[in-house]
Amino acid sequence: MVGLNIEERIIQLLANLNAIRLEKALDIMALKDIIKAKDEDVASIMGGLQTKGYLTIEGEKVYLTKAGILRAFSYYS
């Protein structure tokens, strides 16, 4: 994920971890650990991605929506 901005890194991470349903959702704390960016940056970007419809945040969990999955894999089709 070198070279990608934080937004894209979050989307790619969730797709590769198959976090596409609530039962497969990733802990937000774990996501912040992996992304290794400032907490406030990650929180703000995740909020933006949720507004755009790419991910769902439920409590302490986060997973991709249908649009998020398609967005993530658009790199490779």
């Binding site: 198959n18 596409i20 249908k66 999955i69 967005r71 658009s74």
Partner: protein, 386 residues
């Protein structure tokens, strides 16, 4: 004939054109008496197992988290192979395996050897054309998988003559091993009345304004950036507005390009839209622009033709086989905003010309690009020559 179809996308998981192609082909094969089992990754909101219009769909969860996309692909192949093996055991094997694109090459080859079945591969596009050169380690892997699929397959199907020659020259595949079978679309979904005025208003296109439509993934291959630049070159009296339907990793850059210029108010990004909404937009558009840099076929051009939208397309690869300039559409130079602007201007300025190309396009669609004809050709590809 019992067919195991392998694909990384199947409706409603629609990343690119593969999904629509495999869906249309599978349903047409079923209508011709084949038993088709599609094994594909899962997607939220749809069941793991279902039969849709006669096609047996088996969706598989990739249970193991992956650190990157390459690993994800290999794990996905493992889980597809596991499901394919279970199916083969319960169904008594398959007559052949049909794999779509490099993403399922490993499972396609495994299935061929385990099942003792023939492997047919459809290559939908090629890495060296998508990225321009095979320089990164990732591209080297994809390129190699594409080659491997042609080597292991009894027959390689491609969607255009330009792609056939690309495969022959790139992978040294014997010409007789390759079969060109074009893509198709389901024209019946365009047989509906649409209130164009209300559709256009929904997207902010008012009376006296013209609707220019882009439909596709927002990636460099699709060339949307050149279309946005072209919009700036259009004469103001045309009152053209651009609706960009689709999504992709370039979206932020494209929005910056559009909204950072004086034409920002004339561009709207919708993201992904449901099929029904796309059909309504296609039927309401004054021009559908396909500004791709590389397009092995160009399914979206067919959709525009079926919907009665005048198509302005790049003169590249498969698109130049689908569109005959000044006959069923307008061909323009790729990566050239001024040429794209010229093409849009051509169709927005001459209603008689539009009637001519739209009429010809409809005739060609019905004569040449229907799924039953494509299924018949595919069954020919499946058959062994005695």
């Amino acid at each position: 004939m019992k067919v195991l179809t392998l694909t990384w996308e199947y409706s409603p998981r629609i990343v690119g054109g593969i999904s629509r192609h495999v869906e249309g082909l599978s349903e047409a094969l079923v209508r011709r008496g084949a038993e088709v089992h599609v094994v594909t990754p899962d997607f939220p909101g749809v069941p793991y197992e279902e039969i849709v219009r006669g096609v047996h769909i088996h969706r598989v969860s990739v249970e193991t988290p992956a650190p990157d996309f390459t690993t994800w692909v290999m794990l996905m192949n493992h889980y597809l192979a596991k499901r394919a093996a279970d199916l083969a055991n319960s169904l008594g094997g398959f007559d052949l395996v049909h794999a779509h694109d490099w993403l399922v090459t490993p499972v396609g080859i495994e299935s061929k050897h385990f099942l003792g079945s023939d492997l047919i591969t459809t290559l939908h596009s090629l890495e060296f054309k998508r990225v321009g050169s095979i320089s990164s380690p990732f591209s080297r892997m994809v390129d190699s998988l594409e080659w491997w699929s042609t080597y292991e397959s009894r027959r390689v199907i491609v969607c255009s003559n330009s792609m056939k020659w690309d495969v022959i020259h790139k992978f040294s595949v014997p010409e007789e091993k390759i079969m060109v079978i074009p893509n198709s679309i389901d024209t019946s979904k365009f047989d509906l009345h649409v209130d164009r005025r209300s559709v256009r208003l929904r997207y902010g296109v008012h009376n006296g304004e013209r609707l220019v439509l882009f439909l596709g993934r927002l990636t460099p291959q699709k060339g949307c950036e050149y279309l946005i630049k072209a919009m700036r070159l259009l004469p103001s009296h045309l009152n053209a507005k651009l609706i960009v339907v689709g999504d992709g990793w370039m979206r932020n850059d494209l929005e910056r390009e559009a909204f950072g210029s004086d034409i920002g108010w004339r561009v709207r990004f919708t993201g992904f839209l449901p099929d029904g909404e796309v059909v309504q937009l296609l039927k309401s558009a004054d021009a559908l622009v396909v500004p791709s840099v590389y397009e092995p076929f160009g399914m979206v051009a067919l959709e525009g033709m079926a919907a009665g939208a005048p198509v302005v397309a790049s003169n590249v690869d498969g698109l130049s086989e689908v569109i005959k300039h000044d006959y069923n559409g307008v061909l323009v130079y790729s990566r050239d905003p001024s040429s794209i602007a010229w093409g849009i201007n051509r169709v927005l300025s001459d209603s008689g010309y539009v009637q001519w190309i739209v009429g010809n396009a409809r005739t060609i669609i019905h004569e040449k690009y229907n799924w039953d004809a494509i299924a018949s050709l595919t069954i020919d590809a499946y058959k062994r020559e005695e």
